[in-house]
Symmetry: C2
Subunit: 290 residues, 2 copies
Amino acid sequence: MRPMVAVSSFHDRLRQAWADSGSLLCVGLDPVRSRLPSPFKQAPSGLRDFCCAIVEATADFVCAFKPQAAHFAAEGAEDQLAEVISHIHKGWPDKPVILDAKRGDIGSTAAFYAKEAFERYDADAVTLNPYLGEESVRPFLQHPGRGVAVLCRTSNPGSAWLQTTPEEAPAYLRIAAAAREWNRDGNVMLVAGATYPQELARIRITVGDMPLLTPGIGAQGGDLEQILRAGLDAHGRGMLISASRSILYPEVDMDAVCVGVARDFAAASRMAAERLHDEINNLILALAGP
Amino acid sequence: MRPMVAVSSFHDRLRQAWADSGSLLCVGLDPVRSRLPSPFKQAPSGLRDFCCAIVEATADFVCAFKPQAAHFAAEGAEDQLAEVISHIHKGWPDKPVILDAKRGDIGSTAAFYAKEAFERYDADAVTLNPYLGEESVRPFLQHPGRGVAVLCRTSNPGSAWLQTTPEEAPAYLRIAAAAREWNRDGNVMLVAGATYPQELARIRITVGDMPLLTPGIGAQGGDLEQILRAGLDAHGRGMLISASRSILYPEVDMDAVCVGVARDFAAASRMAAERLHDEINNLILALAGP
């Protein structure tokens, strides 16, 4: 684990990362073995090496990285996940790493999941599922400088029957209100998917300037302008716009743009990240007005 | 992985395990390093060896085992978890292993969690969190012979504000109704905590004879007679009564009962398992009446 000499809150570290990088883009690291470029596909350490190459290629355009646990766990590659995170900390110590693991259990067990996220993997933050209530979140909040991203409104279709009911007090807004209470130390974020901009707007109103982690851009089809309009905080920041598959596996797009460069997966991913970064920043400027 | 020559449904395998063992007791394997007996406490493979010793000591009285993922993951001991499961399959091939991991994510990621549970760990079933809806469950249902236990009403206090609202159509009952739909191949169970027997009774009415996984007996204080009355199916079975801490760390109880035997942790755990097994079966007989 890194020495944490002067521990500032997770929100402060995130704000610093937004300022330093000039970016709200968070690249999700979801390595799918069958889709990896050929040098990585057969290599035992292919998941790690591919992710590290993506990190190096895209770091100039992102404020944070979000490795996804299941993609490593499926093949028993937990050590590779730990190495990817360590690689990011060494090369880009100011870019937070959000472990996407969606853990959630009763308090005594949640303490072990917190240890998994913050000690075993040394992540800066971790995604959590709140269905078991506050006690499933609390043990994570006792780690100074670390943060959580609590599922609020997820980006997938077929989740509304649990998340948006009852109409007068939908679960996702009750979670948003609870998260505001849990956030005593500047360490709670919410996951608010890009595919439901109207609900994102209601979450933003409920939580003030709490950071929102927003997946669902790119492969899942969220509209960038709508979600920025709905989700930016008063300072034109406050969001982690997360893209995974559209950055990691952009070959189709890239072929159309520039055949020569697209043959190099890292250059293609870098170009996809740069393009999304520019698109986000141009929209923020346009939304800010003259 | 074990060869699955003639694959029967997970429910059929569970019914066979109930019949063969004459027990509804499921022992949860939640190894806490600081609470392990001294030979295991310092040993690198202590989690595995302690769990295997508990399995051997208690197997006569249980129908299934439920290892808990976080307790291993917190110290990077995923391989020990896999070895515990493999040990159970070898010695007690007819006792299902339920991996308690409470995973839940969008469909493309859920497929990797299913691979983690059923291929990497070779578990027979896995606990799932349904907050992301059906697509987070579906990939798990495509593994023949395997099962899922979907969180419905959890045993912890502080979960009612999400699980039991709104009153006229509480989330836990909507999940129970959905689980009945998902259960096309005899592979879906529900997690229904022992601490809320009235809600357990409503779940039983909703799902017919679907098996229920019921934690919260023992350390969490659920009342055994009430929950059996509420949760047994029409055949006097249908439940996995899960106990972890009260079986793994029973020294206080045991000292009072029998000082000589209690010094041997395995004998104490065996005695705790036998006592709970007997208590369950005596209550089932009493409830069945003359």
